[in-house]
């Protein structure tokens, strides 16, 4: 029995423009039952715009959406959901004060006979979906108490709680580590078997080749190619995407480490992490690997002064440093690029240049008075190095594509010329070409003496960039590997805690 050949959902010559930007021009995509279609393209190519058009968030300016061949309109997200289309959005919208289960079932909670929400059934349902993802999250937990990756798993669960025929996933694996990604693959296989049509957006090619059946490539809002994944190679896809060949080799660099710049001892937290200690030298790139919930981000935020550790001390350049707030950390030359860019990283309603200069205002101003020209100069210098695509430097960060927002946040912190930069999932959502630009810039700054702490869930990035790797498991340091010993298998086994078995 082969799945029917008729597409469930089609986009026919759809166009969408924003002031100054043609985000989509006459793109067409067909989604078939039981098939995964991968949508690839550079940052700002229009992928998320397609998702928002298909889910009633944006209205197309031209073209047609068809469900089972019948033209439809999705004036609201609800209408798209009713037509059987559900999506995991790139920038997830969840409610901090509600419980995990309430977030998952908001708007379509199971109701009892009285017409009131059946809380028991809701928690049960939430638990089932979360278990299916292999996520150890209590449905009763309040969302704001979860880490970014767990919030993301809740967002995935929310999309899956809708009984849909079409499931759209916009970079679902960004910032998930190998274990959660495996669970997601299985889940996608399950959805395929149920005959659902899946649109899968990702910048990671190993994923695309693992789960996709078809592909569609976007460049600058236009469709530049599609076909079966079996008929194409990674290099060909990249070339279609970028319009040129991209070398995916990590930058070579001289590793001449300088004096010790950071020394952390005995960092403890009542619930999130315990006994974290390490040193960092000038010019060193120290990777932090671990599964979701291993406490990496929580520790980094304590180091940056946004949460309070119960014990521990930091020495910067040999001198004891008291860090009670991010302002303290910044004044000691320690900066943090957070994982949650929408809330912590960027101020989305301010222009790009103002975001970049916000922590560097002392450098770009004179006696406390702003100097716009200096601000534009600094913003341009760093954003161009990171391959930012934007209509102008005074456009709001919120109107940029996800990957481009990330570049702004990285630029903002590099521009402060820190001693130590903590990057939490630095290339989350960044396309393959720009990723190379980010890595190159990182390597260059490290060569000039910048010390880098890189929290990453992407194994190739950890392996390719790190001089040393610390692996965290359940809030503790599970292992520390020096350059020669870093390899994917060892990382994975330490992170999962199965070292004995593989030794």
């Amino acid at each position: 029995m082969s799945p029917s050949d008729a597409p469930i959902l089609s986009l026919e010559k759809v166009t969408k423009t924003f002031p100054g930007v043609r985000a989509l021009s006459e793109v067409s995509i067909d989604l078939y039952p039981g098939k995964v279609t991968a949508l690839v393209g550079e940052n700002g190519a229009g992928k998320s715009t397609v998702v928002k058009t298909l889910t009633g968030i944006y209205q197309p300016d031209g073209g047609e959406i068809r469900v089972d061949g019948v033209p439809v309109h999705f004036p609201t997200p609800q209408s798209a959901e009713n037509a059987g289309v559900t999506a995991i959005h790139q920038e997830t919208v969840l409610f901090d004060e509600l419980s995990v289960a309430e977030n998952i079932f908001l708007g379509h909670a199971p109701k009892g006979r009285s017409g009131l929400i059946d809380t028991h059934a809701m928690h049960q349902g939430a638990k089932e979906i979360l278990d299916g993802l292999g996520a150890k999250i209590d449905p009763r937990a309040i969302l704001k108490d979860l880490g970014t990756a767990n919030k993301h798993l809740v967002a995935i669960s929310r999309a899956l709680s809708v009984d849909a025929r079409v499931v759209i996933m916009d970079e679902p694996t960004a910032a998930l580590s190998h274990a959660e990604i495996e669970e997601l693959y299985e889940l996608v296989d399950g959805l395929k078997a149920q005959g659902k049509a899946i649109l899968f957006i990702s910048h990671k090619f190993d994923e695309i080749f693992r789960i996709a059946d078809n592909y569609t490539v976007f460049r600058d809002g236009q469709m530049v190619g599609d076909g079966a994944i079996a008929d194409v190679t990674e290099a060909e896809l990249v070339k279609m995407m970028v319009g040129r060949d991209v070398s995916q080799i990590f930058p070579e660099r001289d590793r001449n480490l300088g004096a010790e710049v950071l020394n952390v001892t005995g960092y403890d937290h009542p619930t999130e992490f315990a006994d974290i200690g390490f040193t960092l030298k000038r010019g060193e790139i120290l990777g932090f690997y671990g599964l979701v919930g291993a406490g990496r981000s929580e520790f980094m935020q304590a180091l940056f002064g946004t949460t309070k550790p119960s014990a521990g001390s930091v020495r910067v350049d040999g001198a004891e440093a008291t860090i009670r707030s991010p302002a303290d950390a910044v004044s000691h030359g320690i900066v943090y690029v957070p994982e949650d860019r929408g809330k912590q990283g960027a101020i989305v309603d301010l222009p790009i240049f103002q975001n970049v200069t916000l922590p560097s205002l002392k450098q770009t101003s004179r006696k406390g008075f702003l100097k716009m020209a200096e601000e534009f100069k600094l913003a341009r210098e760093y954003t161009e190095r990171l391959d930012l695509r934007a209509a102008s430097l005074d456009t709001h960060v919120g109107s940029l594509s996800g990957g481009n927002q990330q570049k702004v946040v990285i630029a903002k912190w590099l521009a402060t010329e820190p001693k130590v930069i903590i990057l939490d999932e630095p290339t989350k959502g960044i396309d393959i070409g720009s990723k190379a630009a980010v890595h190159e810039f990182m390597a260059e700054l490290a060569a000039q003496g910048l010390a880098v702490i890189m929290v990453s869930s992407e194994i190739p990035e950890i392996v390719g960039m790190s001089d040393r790797v610390i692996i965290m498991r359940e809030g503790r340091i599970a292992a520390e590997l020096s350059r020669e010993d870093i390899c994917p298998e060892v990382l994975v086994s330490h992170a999962a805690g199965i070292t004995e078995a593989t030794a």
């Binding site: 912590q344 916000l358 903002k412």
Partner: protein, 326 residues
């Protein structure tokens, strides 16, 4: 390599200004001015116009500080009560013979202390400012009532009258000059300094601002302090102008001040707004009340107009953004 360059701006700053809420408001102000001059033969008279400025100068002084506070995502509803308390403190001091300099210092100090009190409750204890300042609104005026009851303080030194009744040159009053100076100071402070930039950042995204290394609590505390200080200055002017203090002084001003700020295009939810907008809004409100006064419109109708204005200005900017976004 990469030769593509991102332009600084797509729209010139002038173009952006022309399309702004402020320029629309300016047209409204001019319209009201013209309408008033047709409606009443007494309007186009230098002394009458000068008198009209007293309708807004004191309120506007507070409105500038309030604008910064609202842009940062907070609000202070206790400002009129701070006026009452500061005026009472000055009145009590005048009774025991303290001179003009002393009275001014007492007025300013009372304002600062009240502002600091609000600021500590909001920033150190993390309480919502709307709740805190509704509380202190009753508290501050309550203290005045306890001290004064149904009495009034009079007998201010004669040179104290200058602040509210003095003229600097011809029809230009001291208050109007003070208003203009304060407007320029706040305009520069909000739009041209690092501090002003952080106010916008905090109002747009307090978490993001904190993560950017901004001392959010300190900035907000300073803004409450400034609002208290401006209330103290307004108290000096108003007390001087009236020549007496009753506990009911400046009742209801907090709403007129918030109306002025919002009419000036400041987003009541924080994050955006400008001082030039508030300046124009001050003139608009002054002209409206003065015009209605010239036409002998009864006071109750006047407060209906102010109420209607408050509602429509909260709705209008929203309609305006909807319209200009297209």
């Amino acid at each position: 390599m990469n030769t593509r360059s991102i332009p600084d701006r797509l729209q010139s700053p002038l173009e952006r200004k022309l399309k702004s809420w402020e320029s629309l408001l300016l047209l409204v102000a001019i319209g009201i001015f013209v309408a008033n001059s047709f409606a009443s033969p007494y309007f186009l008279n230098a002394w009458n116009l000068s008198d009209a400025t007293f309708n807004f100068t004191e309120k506007a002084m507070i409105a500038f500080a309030m604008a910064l506070l609202i842009i940062s995502g907070e609000i202070d509803l206790s400002v009129a009560s701070i006026i009452a308390l500061a005026s009472t403190a000055m009145g009590a001091a005048a009774q025991v013979g303290i001179g003009t300099e002393g009275l001014v210092l007492i007025g300013l100090a009372t304002g600062l202390v009240c502002g600091a009190f609000n600021g500590v409750l909001v920033t150190a204890l993390g309480l919502p400012s709307i709740v805190v300042t509704i509380g202190t609104m009753s508290l501050f005026r309550g203290i005045s009532f306890i001290i004064l009851g149904d009495q009034a303080y009079r007998g201010y030194p004669s040179d104290f009258a200058f602040f509210g009744q003095g003229y600097v040159w011809w029809v230009i009053s001291f208050e109007f000059v003070l208003f203009a100076i304060i407007a320029v100071i706040y305009g520069v402070f909000l739009h041209m300094t690092n501090f002003g930039r952080t106010v916008y950042a905090i109002g747009n995204n307090p978490t993001g601002a904190l993560f950017s290394g901004i001392r959010v609590g300190r900035v907000k505390f300073i803004l409450f302090l400034l609002t208290g200080l401006m209330s103290g200055i307004a108290a000096i002017c108003l007390t001087s102008r009236l020549g007496s203090t009753r506990p009911s002084i400046a009742t209801g001003w907090e709403l007129e001040i918030v109306t002025m700020v919002v009419l000036g295009g400041v987003n009541i939810l924080g994050g955006s707004g400008s001082i030039p907008g508030v300046v124009i809004a001050a003139f608009v409100m002054g002209l409206v009340t003065f015009g209605l006064g010239l036409l002998n419109v009864p006071g109750i109708v006047m407060s209906i107009v102010i109420g209607g204005l408050l509602i429509s200005v909260i709705a209008l900017p929203r309609l305006w953004t909807m319209w200009s976004a297209r």
